[in-house]
Symmetry: C2
Subunit: 349 residues, 2 copies
Amino acid sequence: MPACSSGVKLANMRRGAAQQEVDRTRPSLTAIQGLVHDVLDSVLAHMGAVLEADVPFINEVSFHLQRMRGKLFRPALLALANRTEERPDDREVALGAVIEIIHMATLVHDDSIDRSSMRRGRPTLNSRWGHKVSVIMGDYLYSRAMTEITRIGDLELIELAARVTNDLTIGEMVEIAHHGQLVEDPRQYFFLIEKKTASLISTACEMGAVIGAREQREPLKEYGRRLGMAFQLIDDLMDYGGEQAVMGKPVGTDLREGQVTFPLLAVLPHLSPAERRCVNAVFDPQEQATSDDIQRIVDVVRERGGIEATRRVAREYADRAREALVGLPSTPAREVMDAAVDYVLARDR
Amino acid sequence: MPACSSGVKLANMRRGAAQQEVDRTRPSLTAIQGLVHDVLDSVLAHMGAVLEADVPFINEVSFHLQRMRGKLFRPALLALANRTEERPDDREVALGAVIEIIHMATLVHDDSIDRSSMRRGRPTLNSRWGHKVSVIMGDYLYSRAMTEITRIGDLELIELAARVTNDLTIGEMVEIAHHGQLVEDPRQYFFLIEKKTASLISTACEMGAVIGAREQREPLKEYGRRLGMAFQLIDDLMDYGGEQAVMGKPVGTDLREGQVTFPLLAVLPHLSPAERRCVNAVFDPQEQATSDDIQRIVDVVRERGGIEATRRVAREYADRAREALVGLPSTPAREVMDAAVDYVLARDR
């Protein structure tokens, strides 16, 4: 399994003073987007053009989606990777739109299968128009992304888009297969997050390299993969309340949905028999877990150091993402990609 | 709208003696597949290889799908088109698999959004594994089709696959948009069936032409489009019981699902005020249509000649499909494609 060979160790991680310094600055997404702000505006405009159809209903739904303006984190990384040799290629706009539309498609189908009602402060497609629209509109988004990248006409790029779309679905299928099961092997978890999250972030960086910094393709792809792993680990940590649990903020959503993530995996071998029984009970198909049961597991994970363990692994991936940047020319883009690592690590602060 | 410009006229269709002769023979699909039987076996085997994943659960679901062996009508047409110049290209196997996997993906998502429980005598993915699996497995199929055609590496073919996948979703979105509405303009209906059905049959033929008979690309594409229109018209006619309504066979399914198809459209202008009120009532969102209401509309459509009118239009498309073959070299493949027209027309007999 790809994720296992990356040599992540839970222990022996030391945090340097410089690292702490950077963490304290809490880099904002705005700062990261700064260098490529104009590109991102063009990406948004281009997305609108790509998604336009002759069918008014499609435009209505697509307009609703576009108003859920995302963070454009992946197109930003693509544009940054495209600038690592300081000779950016202008296909970054179309490619950024393709990557963001693929991302949007995954969110639409995620919301559909999870029956989520809100996303980015707006009703999801399934809650607004129902199940049929969310399934087919997701298909529309995926297929428009493919027609758009085909228009660009570069086989290498098409291959990347096709492969990552397939990887994303493999990740989702693994997640569904594990649903409600206490899968204890961390390799399964790392395989899953690599497919469902790291793959797209990695592909965004790789595409940027292919068009603007071909010699840096491998390091930029690896940077993206490692950053993506850290990104998902922090996401999963936030579901256990992050470093400082915020009162009233919902926690344990993944657990409630039958998903085992790293914070729980990290503490599983260290539980008392009584604690272990609590965990088993939540995954017992015969029993209905209550909110108290879920909160109890969240508390156990926090008490047993699951948050710190997860952050350690995330930080190790983050450090290795930074390492991948070492051989790159010293450019503003590289600096911002370095700052993006801090942003990812500080998302739960 | 593309379908409107095709000059279909409801009246003035005459049926020649030769045509009747052919209808009586009821051409079987087996006869049509005969010439390309080996190719279709290879297509099936190739589909299995393409869909194989490192994830056991994906293989389990995909194996279930593959046992729902379809008619492979589209790969058969692709292989026939590939033989119109008698120098077939062996990419037909991979392309046939791509086309059939795309078709399979549409069926999986169709069953998911319609919550159908059976397909080809086996439980659908949604009834066997639930909603999540059906949505994501459909995505997996679409994306595997794209990675496979990217592997073949011909931009023209990739473009065709991407475009048709998008067309299929546009057709589905139009169908959803019309759901429960009495859309009376036949142009809307023709636009819909062109996107959701004719597009894939046409693309199968066009792909066969691109690899094996490039000079015949336009006529073969047109042949496929017209054949596809006839195919869907006959499908819609079967939902009203076909030429001779079979006792006990379910009818009015489309109507029950709020879809207006050609048999109803054809008779709408000729209804008595009382009949029209019945139709309006079925599409009244305030009312719940009963089985009797649906049966009443089916009876009205049959009494008012909706079956014959639909068959006339289907036959006109069929004749025009045959016309598209006229300039092609006289080969066994062309003969079989001619017989495929009869097969499509005779599907409800």
